[in-house]
Structures are given as structure tokens and as C-alpha cells.
């Protein structure tokens, strides 16, 4: 299933590309698998009905991936992300982070994994309101027992990178939506997580802030070599990813693993009748 191509030429004819593909299948440059999702099933009980939301979902995330989980509203993207984060126990199947089966751990151990290894940004920025911007960014480090001095220093560095250090003593809610989302990003990154997870991070933002955030994410992925898993239903992000997992009605409709495939997918999505 893992295929890669370095071909960026879109003018090649389809058949030729398919050939090229199959040749390069074995030469994949992805390094280690960081997340493995195996046969996830999740349903919710709504009144008397058990409604299946995730149906036999399997895929892998490789180190340094920028994976986008894409699909229409209500298809189960957030649910999938939360299952991976250890926040929503699946009915069956497993999530393996590096070598750890998430759901063989108890709740506190899963919390500890999130605290140490997983960064997360939600659509709606949420804060510990009594803490300043700087304290909020430092919180994940404090959580893992880091000394206050270290935590504050590292948090300040993150804020400086985002150009927000002058707001360090503000209450987070005093910042604009775009600024808040950048602070969320700083908070998610401060502990140098294995993987950065984002759920619709620009869903509430204007296009300028959206552009800034997505630029930052690209940099974090390319220069910072950080693995990113992002949930979105926004087409304009797709080309930033190196892999796109297409989710539809709780099923994996396809995984697109090259720029070309993503472009192709995008074209089909925008002009479904063609």
C-alpha cells in the first residue's frame, strides 16, 4: 500500500505515471512508522441506536509526515483524531504509538503519553484562564515536572519564534483569534512532541491568519522535521501535505501519497462530475 513518487510532472500521461509508480513502490523514502492504526471500530450510542462512526480504519503515519485527514463534516475525522490521542476509547482495533499500544494503558498512563509526546491544537483555542499566555505555553512542560525556570525559558523561545513574545503577560483571551491559535501552536510544540495533531486549526480564522498558520505548519514540518497529523475539510490545505487520508462516512476512501496523487484527488473533488 505504501507508494511514493518523486515525479512532480503533471503533464505525463496517466498510464506512464502508473508505471513509474509501481516501480518506485519499494523504494519508499519514509523512515520509521510512528503511528499505526489497526482496524479501528467506533460507534456511538444515540438513544437506542448504535451508530457506527469509524469503520475498520487502518493506516500508518511515518516520521516527518504531513498527513491530512480529509473528509466532509460529520465523517468522523475528529473522532478518529481523538481515538489516536487516547481520548476516545475505540470499540475494537488498536492504536500503536511507536511501540506502545495506547489502549492497553490505563487512563493516567495515556494522559502521561499525551503530556510528554503528543502535541494538540483544536479548532477552538482553550486556555487555563487564570494563567498568562506565557504560563499557558509553559504548562505542558510544568505538567511533565520540568522546572519552572526551564519551562518558562522554553515557552518564551516558542513565543519569540511566533513573534508573540510581547504578549507573554496577556491573558490569552485578550489576543485575537489568529494570535490565540498561534499560541496554541506554541503550547503544542513546546514539549517537542513526537507528533503534532491539529483538528481544523484554522476553522475559525480569517484567510490571512489561516495563511500564516499554514505557512508555519509547513515550516515546522519541513525545517523542524516534525510529524504532523491534521484534520480538515478545507481543500486549500491539501497541497501542503505529503499524504492525504480521505475519510468518508467513517471509512478510509483512499490514501493519496504523492503530490501528484493529491493533485489528482483534489481535481476529482473539485469537479466530481468529470
Amino acid at each position: 500500500m505504501m507508494k511514493t513518487t518523486k515525479s512532480l510532472t503533471s503533464n505525463l500521461d496517466l498510464k506512464k505515471k502508473r508505471e513509474l509508480h509501481s516501480i518506485k513502490v519499494k523504494k519508499k523514502h519514509h523512515s520509521t512508522v510512528v503511528i499505526k492504526v489497526n482496524h479501528l471500530e467506533k460507534s456511538f450510542q444515540v438513544s437506542n441506536n448504535k451508530i457506527p462512526i469509524l469503520k475498520d480504519i487502518s493506516f500508518k503515519v511515518y516520521s516527518k509526515d504531513f498527513l491530512i485527514i480529509f473528509g466532509p463534516s460529520g465523517c468522523g475525522k475528529s473522532t478518529l483524531l481523538n481515538v489516536i490521542l487516547g481520548l476516545e476509547e475505540p470499540d475494537s482495533g488498536e492504536v500503536i504509538l511507536r511501540d506502545t499500544k495506547t489502549y492497553s494503558l490505563n487512563e493516567s498512563e495515556r494522559a502521561d503519553i499525551r503530556a510528554k509526546r503528543l502535541g494538540v491544537v483544536y479548532q477552538q483555542p482553550t486556555w487555563i484562564r487564570s494563567l498568562s499566555v506565557l504560563d499557558n505555553v509553559a504548562y505542558p512542560l510544568i505538567l511533565t515536572g520540568e522546572s519552572r525556570r526551564n519551562a518558562i525559558n522554553q515557552a518564551l523561545r516558542r513565543l519569540e519564534e511566533m513573534g508573540l513574545s510581547k504578549f507573554r503577560n496577556y491573558a490569552p483571551t485578550e489576543l485575537s483569534g489568529g494570535q490565540q491559535q498561534k499560541v496554541s501552536l506554541a503550547r503544542a510544540l513546546v514539549k517537542n512532541p513526537w507528533t503534532l495533531f491539529l483538528d481544523e486549526p484554522t476553522g475559525n480564522l480569517d484567510s490571512k491568519s489561516e495563511e500564516e498558520i499554514i505557512k508555519m505548519l509547513t515550516e515546522i514540518n519541513r525545517k523542524g522535521k516534525r510529524t504532523i497529523v491534521m484534520v480538515t475539510h478545507n481543500y486549500s490545505f491539501l497541497l501542503r501535505a505529503n499524504r492525504v487520508l480521505h475519510l468518508l462516512d467513517g471509512e478510509v476512501k483512499g490514501i493519496h501519497e504523492s503530490i501528484h496523487e493529491i493533485q489528482q484527488f483534489l481535481r476529482n473533488q473539485l469537479m466530481p462530475e468529470v
Binding site: A115, V120, Y122, T126
Partner: protein, 406 residues
């Protein structure tokens, strides 16, 4: 997560909602102050009544009587034995006799009390005129106010009484001094100078009495005492020491017997006051519970993000407990301070009113120090019970449900 980081966040949370936190703390403080003030009035009144009836030291004193028995004497040997008992602080022996006082032209039948300096101190005599108790020694004669009164000396002229020469004839009871021939009654005549006039502080009715130091009667060689007052270091030991003395064969009595009745009355009184006080505290507790619940609902999403970021349920649980305990402890401490201030004002204003009416002011307010300790303990307890429900809810909250909370 480090405990002090949780404490820091808890305190910042309280500071973040300053007026809400303050009013909650203040409500607890008022409730606590109310309890302390009511209890202090209860204890103060009890103390006042005790002081007026028997005096404070009575609580820790035992009267030992000689049985008028020739077999079991209450002499210095037996007094020494009692003194050896654990918990005994002071022994105050006395001999009661009768006598005739010749003063000027008059002769008075009076009571004669042979005693030592401790007697004056612990039997609530205060000086009206003459030498202070510390300066007194044999062979001085001390008389109570009744004697000059009977002789027609006005209160303001009592000073003239000091320095007068008097002849005192003392008639000893049979068992005090045995004459060689075994004849019953012994008498002694002494020429003495009146050095002090005393009065009873408790305004008890007294017969005309003269007080004489043991040293003034050297012929009383190892006498039997009529009565020995045993003063304990601690009133807790009273029952125990009393039993030991009775085991030696003496009869004892104690003001404690009457005090017990007073105490029963006041214990009931205090319980009633306490119940009233705790109604106030209960209202404060409800207010605090309300605040904490609002604070929980107010921070649902916050709890959600904390958990999503990897905060353990137990840390969230502890955080809420720290907040509730901080509120109740600060409330208790503030309540203690408040009660001291209000109690002081209360007492002073009553004193001013009393003085204004020409009544001598009395103290009806007393806060036993251990109340402070109990109030802190109760504060801690209130923090625990009011904090428990919000803390357990915060603990159980699913992060995703919390994040979705509107």
C-alpha cells in the same frame, strides 16, 4: 505534576475571580467569627459566674478536713504526705478558733484564723488598708473589714485603724493543742498591732475575723490543722488526687462539686449557642458550595483542555480540593481575626456602658485558645466536604465532553 504548581494554579484561579473568592471567604469568615463570638460569650459568662461564686482557683483546689479524730491527725506529717502526691502544687493549712478581741474599750467575739501568706492569696482577700500581703509577717494582726465596721469606723477612716494595739485571747479547740493534764480547753493571750484590714473579694458575708500567722504562735508545736486547702497544678487531676487523699482517710470537699452543676448548665448553654452559630456557618458552607460548583461549570472547557494536554484526573481532583481548602482556611483565619476584633469592641463597649451607669465593669467574654485550633480544624473539614463534590466531578469529567461543554 508538582504539587506546588497545582497550588500556584489554584491560587491564581482564586485571584482570577477576586470578588467571587473574596465574598466566599468573607462569608465563611463571618460564619466562623459568629461561632467564636457566641462561644466566647458562653465561656466568658461561665467564667464570670464561677469567679463570682467560688473563684478561679477553686477549680483546682481540694479542701481536706480533719475528722475531729484523735487517731487520724491532720498535722504537718500528713500535710507532707499530701504534698508528695503528684499534681499537688501548694498546701494551705489553717486552724479555725474563736477568740475575744480587746480594742480600745470594746471586746468583740470573733473568729480567729491561724494561717500563712498563701491563705490570703488564694482565699480572695483584698487589701483595704495597711501593709500589702507581701510585706506582712508575724506578729502582725490582720482583721477583716467587719471589725472596724462593728466598732463604728467609717470606710474612709479605716486607715486610722492601722497601728492600733489590741489584745487577742485565742481559744483553741480541744484537738489542736493538748495540755499536759489533758484538760480540754486551752487559751492564749497575745498583744498585737493591727497592720492590715482586708475584705473578701467575692463580697461573701463574713463574721468578724482576725487573721494570724502561724509564726505568731510558736507554742503551736506540730499542731493539728482544722482544714487544709490543697491546690493542684492542673484541674484535670482533681478527681485523681482527691481519691488519693480520701484513701488516706480524710474527708474532702471541693468547689468543683458546685462547679459541676454550673458547668452542666453552661455546657447546655454553649451547645445552644454553638447550634445557632453553626446555622451561620452552614449558610456560609452553602455559599461556598455554590461558588465551587459555579467555578466548576465555569471552567468545564478549561478542565477539558487540561486533560487533553495530559493532566491526570487525580491532579484535577487535587486542584479543586486545594481551591476549596484555601477558601475555607483563609475564611477561618479571617474569621478568627474578625472575632478578636469584634469581641474586643463588644467587651469594651459594654464596659463603657457599665462605667457610664456607675457599675463596675465585668468581663463576660473569654475565648479559650484551643478554639482557634478547632476553628482551623473545622475550616479544613469544611474545605474537604464542600470541595469533594466539585473535585470528584472534575475528576470524572471526560476531556471531550468537557471541551464540548458550552
Amino acid at each position: 505534576m508538582k504539587f506546588f504548581e497545582l497550588v500556584r494554579i489554584a491560587i491564581l484561579n482564586l485571584l482570577n475571580r477576586k470578588s467571587r473568592s473574596f465574598f466566599t471567604i468573607f462569608a465563611i469568615a463571618i460564619g466562623m467569627a459568629f461561632v467564636i463570638i457566641l462561644l466566647s460569650i458562653g465561656y466568658g459568662l461561665e467564667r464570670l459566674v464561677q469567679e463570682q461564686t467560688v473563684g478561679l482557683d477553686a477549680l483546682r483546689s481540694i479542701d481536706v478536713d480533719s475528722e475531729q479524730s484523735a487517731v487520724l491527725l491532720l498535722n504537718s506529717d500528713s500535710v507532707n504526705k499530701i504534698k508528695q502526691l503528684e499534681g499537688v502544687e501548694t498546701i494551705i493549712p489553717q486552724i479555725n478558733c474563736v477568740g475575744k478581741l480587746k480594742l480600745g474599750g470594746s471586746v468583740l467575739d470573733i473568729t480567729v484564723l491561724v494561717m500563712d501568706n498563701n491563705y490570703l492569696k488564694y482565699s480572695y482577700k483584698s487589701l483595704v488598708a495597711g501593709k500589702s500581703f507581701a510585706e506582712l509577717s508575724s506578729p502582725n494582726l490582720i482583721v477583716n473589714e467587719i471589725i472596724p465596721n462593728i466598732l463604728g469606723t467609717k470606710n474612709e477612716d479605716v486607715n486610722n485603724f492601722i497601728g492600733q494595739k489590741a489584745e487577742l485571747e485565742i481559744i483553741f479547740p480541744t484537738n489542736i493543742i493538748k495540755s499536759e493534764d489533758g484538760l480540754a480547753i486551752q487559751t492564749r493571750k497575745k498583744d498585737l498591732t493591727i497592720e492590715s484590714v482586708v475584705t473578701d473579694r467575692k463580697n461573701q458575708k463574713e463574721s468578724p475575723t482576725a487573721y494570724l500567722f502561724f509564726d505568731s504562735l510558736p507554742e503551736l508545736n506540730n499542731p493539728s490543722y482544722s482544714k487544709v486547702k490543697v491546690l493542684l497544678s492542673d484541674q484535670e487531676r482533681l478527681t485523681e488526687v482527691r481519691a488519693k487523699i480520701e484513701a488516706m482517710g480524710y474527708t474532702t470537699s471541693s468547689a468543683f462539686d458546685t462547679l459541676e452543676q454550673i458547668q452542666t448548665v453552661f455546657t447546655t448553654f454553649r451547645i445552644i449557642l454553638m447550634v445557632i452559630g453553626f446555622v451561620g456557618v452552614t449558610i456560609a458552607i452553602l455559599g461556598m458550595f455554590n461558588t465551587l460548583t459555579i467555578s466548576l461549570l465555569d471552567r468545564m472547557r478549561e478542565i477539558g483542555i487540561m486533560k487533553a494536554l495530559g493532566t491526570r484526573n487525580s491532579s484535577v481532583f487535587i486542584l479543586f480540593f486545594i481551591e476549596s481548602i484555601t477558601i475555607s482556611l483563609l475564611g477561618s483565619i479571617l474569621g478568627i481575626i474578625l472575632s478578636f476584633v469584634l469581641g474586643f469592641i463588644l467587651e469594651k463597649s459594654f464596659q463603657i456602658i457599665a462605667l457610664g451607669r456607675g457599675v463596675s465593669p465585668v468581663s463576660f467574654y473569654y475565648t479559650p485558645p484551643y478554639i482557634v485550633f478547632y476553628i482551623i480544624l473545622i475550616g479544613l473539614f469544611i474545605g474537604l466536604i464542600t470541595g469533594f463534590y466539585p473535585a470528584i466531578r472534575a475528576h470524572k469529567l471526560k476531556p471531550l465532553d468537557a471541551l464540548r461543554y458550552e
